[in-house]
């Protein structure tokens, strides 16, 4: 009797042990939820409707969202080893800084398929090029009924196009715009001639009514008529145009750049972070995302899946793309601190 009981117990134990082995290893590797940090707002909603929902469906792992994007927090997390994020968005030149400081896990190319990306992006080691956006000129079409500014030279020409302006409160891009206005060709911008740029900026300073700090502010300034010509990220203008606002976008000489994602160094859910990025690399999902918000991914096949009505508003639309220039993030990572100080000093001058 005792023997039989023991045998049954052993068998049960062995069976449960066997059965639970794969399940257990999966359970310890597979969390019930992971944290994905992005810039929030409208982009987060679009991410949710496309990439995040697809990831949850594929893996059964829930995504919890946090925001905003914060390089300082990323550094603090990696330094303390207490890493909350499985994957995070990283803005502009910060991605280069993060990579250089060793704050990111390498991308796992066996999980993330970059084969349909433009050639120069296929071998990315740490920074995932998620989508691109562009800082473009926008103006009130009711103020400039016979056509608005067509270039940065026009933007800086207050005789030809009178009225208050708005620009971002940052040297990044404003220096490029000033040099373009001063006649530097788009392919000869870098390395930037900082002195020449500030000299040109002097000429427009008193016509800039608002130096904007947040994306929401940039487009609202035109709606409120605080300014009649301005700069903003293309998606910001597009969402207002969609609502019927009298705003026109000028793509010529727009500053195009990527918005990136990366996996914090030492993240415990790093594998699942790679899987999120894999979803973000998918052509169909990228097309759906761009249809919602106007920020295209860089998968070359994504356009086939994008709403044709949206295509004219995409910075990667060939007609728009050829008119714009790519921001050199490496130059800014090298020179950002120094130029930022000069910018602050310039702002203090009357």
């Amino acid at each position: 009797m005792l023997k039989r009981v023991l045998a049954v117990l052993c068998a049960a134990g062995a069976m449960s042990g066997l059965a639970s082995l794969p399940a257990q290893s999966q359970a310890s590797a597979k969390p019930s939820q992971i944290v994905v940090n992005d810039s929030g707002g409208a982009t987060q909603q679009a991410n949710r409707k496309t990439f995040y929902n697809a990831f949850e469906k594929q893996t059964g792992v829930k995504i919890v969202n946090t925001s905003p994007v914060d390089l300082g927090k990323l550094k603090a997390m990696v330094a303390s080893g207490n890493i909350e994020w499985a994957v995070t968005e990283i803005a502009g030149p910060d991605a280069v800084t993060a990579e250089r400081m060793g704050l990111l896990e390498p991308l796992d190319h066996s999980v993330i398929d970059l084969s349909k990306f433009p050639e120069h992006l296929r071998n990315r080691k740490f920074v995932f090029p998620k989508s691109v956006y562009s800082t473009v000129i926008g103006y009130r079409s009711d103020t400039f009924k016979n056509g608005g500014p067509k270039s940065w030279a026009d933007f800086f020409d207050v005789q030809k196009f009178p009225g208050p302006r708005t620009m971002q409160n940052s040297p990044i891009e404003q220096l490029e715009f000033a040099l373009l206005a001063d006649g530097v060709p788009m392919d000869k911008l870098y390395p930037l001639d900082v002195d020449r740029a500030f000299k040109k900026l002097d000429t427009i300073k008193k016509h800039v009514a608002v130096w904007w700090t947040t994306g929401a502010q940039s487009a609202q300034i035109l709606i409120d008529k605080e300014a009649v010509i301005g700069t903003a990220w293309n998606g910001r203008y597009h969402s207002l145009i969609k609502e019927g606002a009298p705003i026109q976008i000028e793509w010529n000489q727009g500053a195009i750049k990527e918005s990136a994602f990366g996996i914090p160094k030492g993240a415990k859910d790093a594998y699942w972070g790679q899987r999120v990025l894999a979803a973000m690399a998918d052509a169909k999902l990228q097309g759906e995302y761009a249809s919602i918000i106007g920020y295209p991914g860089v998968n070359l096949e994504a356009t086939q899946h994008t709403d044709p009505k949206m295509v004219p508003f995409l910075p990667t639309n060939p007609e728009n793309l050829s008119k714009q220039f790519w921001i050199d993030l490496n130059w800014w990572a090298d020179n950002g601190q120094q130029v930022q100080e000069r910018w602050a000093r310039w702002m203090l001058e009357r």
């Binding site: 009514a209 608002v210 700090t213 609202q220 008529k225 605080e226 950002g336 100080e341 602050a344």
Partner: protein, 295 residues
């Protein structure tokens, strides 16, 4: 001499100890009661602050401090920050003093109603209120449109995206911090004092200057200190209402922390700001103390 025997000296020492304990018992009791709060402050405030400051020291040469204290960019922004904080404190005082006075003499239930009106915006998010001011103060905002419709002005007043906008926005956000300390002091005032002074022939202005104002000075000091210290750390209101043209220290510190990951320099800037704040606070206290005694 047995071990249990006590000498007169020991007796006296025991009595002294008991007397010392009686005198300090309350102190220890309140210290124990404040313990959790002190621990909270120590762990979540003082230790992180000490760690940030520790990062700002790099060997003996202190390059971060040298830069923070000699570079005219940082000195000018520091000066502007303190100046804005001082202006906001004064504006709050001028606006809050009559309000607090009215609340302190009104019959029930009006004080409660008034306080509710002060508290409602106090509980609203600063960001929402800041955007609200943008709607009101803009070139095509409610105020400018109303004034031009009434024919008072021809061109819109520059109320937004400059110092005016920042001062209005910050004063609005910080006003309750001035009203409540003043109200607390004024409500405790004995109205007989003023009546007695009047009875002895003092004019209204004399009563205010020699009785009311000196007696409410502790409230003035408390309110101004609160508003001043809070103003110094302001960030989003000046950024949005100043149109990028008003510069405060918190913005520069945030840039170092978030954009350039230069935490050493951020620590040095914070230390300089903290030092300047403490200095102003001490001077203000001295001045007002002296004033009170003189009165």
């Amino acid at each position: 001499m047995s071990a249990s025997a006590t000498t007169p000296n020991e007796l006296r020492a025991g009595a002294l100890r008991r007397r010392w304990w009686r005198r300090h018992r309350d102190g220890f009791g309140s210290l124990a009661a404040a313990g959790p709060a002190l621990l909270f402050l120590l762990v979540l405030y003082l230790i992180p602050m000490a760690m940030l400051l520790a990062q700002s020291f790099e060997g003996a040469s202190l390059p971060h401090y040298q830069k923070a204290l000699t570079d005219d960019l940082y000195l000018r922004v520091l000066f502007d920050t303190l100046l804005i904080a001082a202006c906001v404190s004064l504006l709050c005082l001028v606006l809050a003093y009559p309000v607090a006075y009215a609340l302190s003499i009104l019959p029930s239930p009006w004080p409660a109603v008034g306080i509710a009106f002060i508290l409602l915006p106090f509980w609203t998010s600063v960001l929402v209120r800041t955007y609200g001011w943008m709607v009101l103060l803009g070139r095509n905002g409610l105020i400018n449109r109303m004034l031009s419709d009434l024919g008072v002005i021809e061109t819109p007043l520059p109320l937004l995206n400059n110092m005016t906008g920042v001062l209005i926005g910050m004063t609005h956000v910080l006003l309750p911090y001035m009203v409540f300390p003043l109200y607390a002091v004024m409500r405790r005032m004995d109205p007989n004092l003023a009546q007695a002074a009047r009875g002895l022939g003092a004019s209204g202005w004399d009563v205010f200057r020699r009785i009311y104002l000196p007696l409410t000075l502790p409230g003035v000091l408390a309110g101004m200190t609160l508003v001043f210290v809070l103003s110094i750390g302001f960030f989003i209101t000046p950024a949005l209402l100043g149109g990028g043209k008003v510069h405060m220290m918190a913005v520069l510190i945030e840039q170092q922390v978030r954009m350039f990951l230069n935490w050493g320099f951020a620590g040095a800037l914070s230390a300089v700001l903290l030092g300047a704040t403490l200095l102003v606070y001490i001077v203000l206290r001295r001045l007002l103390r002296g004033n009170m005694q003189w009165s």
